[in-house]
């Protein structure tokens, strides 16, 4: 029989040893009390996981940003290609309109007449070198002797309004229509003998 009452130890040594021996034989496993924790702190785990999560998220965002950039680049490159095509096409039109056939036809349509008699005005003393004479004739008809098949039928860009032709235009046809068939000057009569 044992109890928790404190007892004054008896003087008898063999009794004590016998009790001790009994007590020694009866061991109980003592459950460990809630004292020192052997689990690590949860903060460290959360930090580690949060760090890994942050890295993954950052990587995802970067890769999203890069692909978004790729889509933008692709769109810009497509629009650049379209703009260069427009530029090339407009350049082509410009070069065609600058061709001599187009210029000659448009000049003729505006009533301009070529003049092969150059006269010089010397500015130092106002002298006129050469013999001035009025322009005669138009070269519109012979423009089609040197054809340009790129121009098509619409090479005249602007027409004079009816009745606005200058009064000094002599020898030129009143209606300067650009015909597609070449107007060959009337041939000379062939000699009968040589």
């Amino acid at each position: 029989m044992s109890d928790n009452l404190a007892r004054v130890p008896q003087a008898g040594a063999p009794q004590r040893s016998a009790e001790h021996a009994e007590e020694h034989r009866r061991f109980q496993i003592v459950s460990p009390s809630a004292g020192r924790r052997s689990r690590p702190r949860i903060v460290y785990a959360l930090t580690a996981i949060a760090g890994v999560g942050a890295i993954i998220v950052a990587q995802l965002l970067l890769s999203v940003g890069t692909s978004q950039g790729a889509y933008e680049i692709s769109a810009l490159q497509a629009s650049q290609a379209e703009l260069s095509r427009t530029e090339a096409s407009v350049n082509e039109d410009l070069v065609q309109v600058s061709s001599p056939q187009s210029l000659a036809a448009n000049a003729a349509a505006l009533g301009l007449v070529s003049n092969s008699n150059p006269v010089y005005l010397r500015l130092s003393d106002g002298a006129v070198l050469g013999a001035p004479s009025s322009a005669s004739g138009s070269q519109a008809s012979s423009a089609s002797l040197v054809p340009n098949s790129l121009l098509g039928d619409n090479i005249v860009l602007s027409q004079l309004p009816a009745g606005a032709a200058g009064t000094d235009v002599s020898g030129a046809a009143a209606a300067v229509a650009v015909t597609s068939a070449p107007v060959i000057p009337a041939g000379l009569p062939s000699p009968t003998t040589r």
Partner: protein
């Protein structure tokens, strides 16, 4: 009550051990299957699988290099490359499709017939024709994946077609060549075939400068077709072709071609050439041919012989225009001067057996050098020419460039025929004095007059100014060193003689340019009939330069067999108009000095 701990046995009973062993074995088997598969994929079939994957993801693209253009020194473009598009179809995928409707979530169904009609409206074909193309392709091959609908459409048409949103159409780029100035310098520039190979003219001769190299580029794309960033690899850089720079002036070329064509048609000539050359530098400002060719429309010129440049490739016997060369040679050698007189009969029979006569009957006349050239007397020229030995005249002819191609830069240029003087028979020895018995091209004749105009220094004939590569460097610049052929005195004296010819010739009324001093000579040469003799047609020409006191421009015009006017009055108006235009364009101011008055007997 105290609880007695129940002593447990350790976990090592036989059944437990077996369970553990079985689990380990199963795990091991599963692992080995994975390892085996891993080794198989990563090591054994690695290359094949990688190649497959790359093929599925990456795209090979040709990066086109642009063929170089042909431009003038003034910057006018004579030939350039443009991008055109071929519209191709995948016949096996042709079918109905849906198209998004604007401002609505619904989609409209579009039938093949409707799509064909819409497509045809842009390309200029009927919807039935397009469906016929598709059905023909499927009839030939039921799995056909490729057929052409339209070739060489431009950017506007391409955009309209893309707007139609037809899924079974695949546009492809196709570089094409365009000649914005049409027939202006068309004979010089040449043309390319439909596939882009150069066929004639400068396109062909300068192909080494103009040709480009295509490059290739590989990139990887995602499922929606967007390039994966950082995956573009340029495996080969594309190299653009260089631009060929010519010395031609396009406006002047247009004018000269026009004038030549009008007059040639008026006189019924078989063909004609007109050359304008800068007397001081030798640059060709205009080289016109009749008939001309428009490289955009080669079919418009029926005869293939007309598609080249006769100015460079057709040599002919120049006739009387070469008398200037003989006169210059005689004056330079000191064998005669401007006062020397010779007796010129109508028919001259020299001792070596030749037979020379003039173009019209006349009594025996005393003639100075000026008379001989004004009247264009063959007998008078023979009397002057025989003052030099054959070798001397042959040396002058070769130094003037007769018999050698000018090397101006046009491919396949003819050098003309000049037989060695040892091979000259009696008639040829005299005929070469007045431009028969040898052949030259129009350019060689112009070069002779350029030498006389330039105080006796012959400048190399130049058509090209160089090749400007894509990076801006210019190569292939021609020689600019002249060679002295005549003394300055002899050249100036010959120039004055030619001025006398210009003022006193029978065509002087036709080729008169008021206010300027001009030197010119006509020429009427018999044309060979192809059987060793001469035909009745003549090759009439006029060559000259202006202003004669300090010449700047040389003009040489030839008409072959103008049946309606078989004299040198035929090209004279062309010379007058072209020379007037040249003097006006380049602002050559007349000096106001009077023309020389050399001694004449007539």
């Amino acid at each position: 009550m105290s609880k007695k701990a129940v002593p447990t046995r350790p976990h090592t009973t036989r059944s437990a051990r077996r369970r553990v062993a079985a689990t380990v074995v199963v795990l091991f088997i599963i692992m080995s299957v994975f390892v085996g598969r891993l080794v198989d994929i990563q090591v054994v079939r690695a290359e094949a699988l990688t190649a497959d994957s790359v093929g599925n993801r990456s795209v090979d693209q040709t990066v086109y290099g642009t063929r170089g253009g042909i431009v003038t020194e003034g910057g006018v473009v004579l030939a350039e490359s443009v991008m055109r598009y071929d519209i191709t179809v995948s016949p096996k995928n042709v079918g109905e499709f849906t198209r998004a409707i604007e401002d609505s979530d619904e989609r409209a169904t579009v039938t093949v017939a409707q799509a064909s009609a819409e497509l045809g409206a842009i390309t200029g074909q009927t919807g039935d024709a397009i469906q016929l193309i598709i059905s023909d392709a499927l009839a030939a091959n039921a799995e056909s994946d490729f057929a052409y609908i339209a070739k060489q459409v431009d950017v506007d048409a391409l955009r309209a077609i893309n707007k139609l949103d037809i899924p079974w159409l695949y546009p492809r780029t196709n570089p094409s060549r365009v000649y914005p100035n049409g027939a202006v310098a068309g004979n010089l520039v040449g043309f390319v075939s439909g596939e882009g190979t150069a066929q004639a003219g400068l396109e062909r001769g300068q192909d080494a400068c103009l040709a480009s190299e295509d490059g290739t580029e590989t990139y990887q794309k995602g499922a929606d077709g967007v390039r994966i960033p950082g995956s573009s690899i340029t495996t080969k850089e594309a190299v653009d072709g260089g631009d060929v720079i010519t010395t031609i002036d396009s406006d002047l070329q247009f004018f000269v071609q026009q004038t030549l064509a009008a007059r040639a048609q008026e006189t019924g000539a078989a063909w004609g050439t007109a050359v304008v050359q800068d007397a001081k530098t030798g640059k060709l400002l205009a080289v016109a041919d009749y008939p001309s060719v428009d490289p955009n429309n080669i079919g418009g010129t029926a005869d293939p012989d007309d598609r080249g440049s006769r100015a460079f490739r057709a040599s002919f016997e120049p006739g009387s225009t070469l008398k200037a060369l003989t006169a210059a040679s005689v004056l330079d050698a000191g064998a005669a001067d401007l006062n020397t007189q010779v007796l010129a009969p109508y028919r001259y029979l020299p001792s070596n057996g030749a037979n020379i006569n003039d173009s019209h009957q006349h009594p025996d006349q005393q003639m100075t050098m000026s008379d001989v050239l004004i009247d264009s007397s063959n007998t008078g020229m023979s009397k002057f020419g025989e003052m030099l030995t054959n070798k001397q005249r042959y040396d002058y002819l070769t130094t003037f460039g007769v018999g050698t191609a000018t090397g101006a830069g046009f491919p396949g240029e003819d050098g003309g025929i000049l037989h060695p003087y040892q091979d000259w028979d009696a008639q040829t020895a005299y005929a070469t004095m007045f431009g028969q018995g040898l052949t030259t091209t129009a350019l060689q004749v112009a070069s002779v007059y350029q030498t006389i105009a330039n105080d006796g220094v012959r400048m190399p004939v130049q058509l090209l100014a160089g090749c400007r590569h894509a990076d801006g460097t210019i190569t292939g610049q021609p020689e600019t060193e002249g060679t002295r052929v005549l003394s300055e005195k002899a050249a100036n004296e010959t120039s004055e003689v030619l001025e006398m010819v210009y003022n006193n010739s029978w065509v002087s009324g036709v080729w008169n340019i008021p206010g300027y001093r001009v030197a010119a000579k006509t020429g009427t040469a018999q044309m060979p009939d192809g059987h060793g003799g001469y035909s009745t047609g003549y090759l009439v020409s006029v060559s000259g330069f202006a202003p004669a006191d300090d010449p700047e421009f040389v003009v040489s015009v030839s008409l072959a067999d103008p049946v309606k006017m078989n004299t040198s009055a035929a090209p004279a108006p062309i010379f007058q108009e072209v020379m007037s235009q040249v003097l006006k364009k380049y602002r050559a101011v007349p000096s106001g000095l009077p023309a020389p008055d050399l001694p004449t007997v007539q």
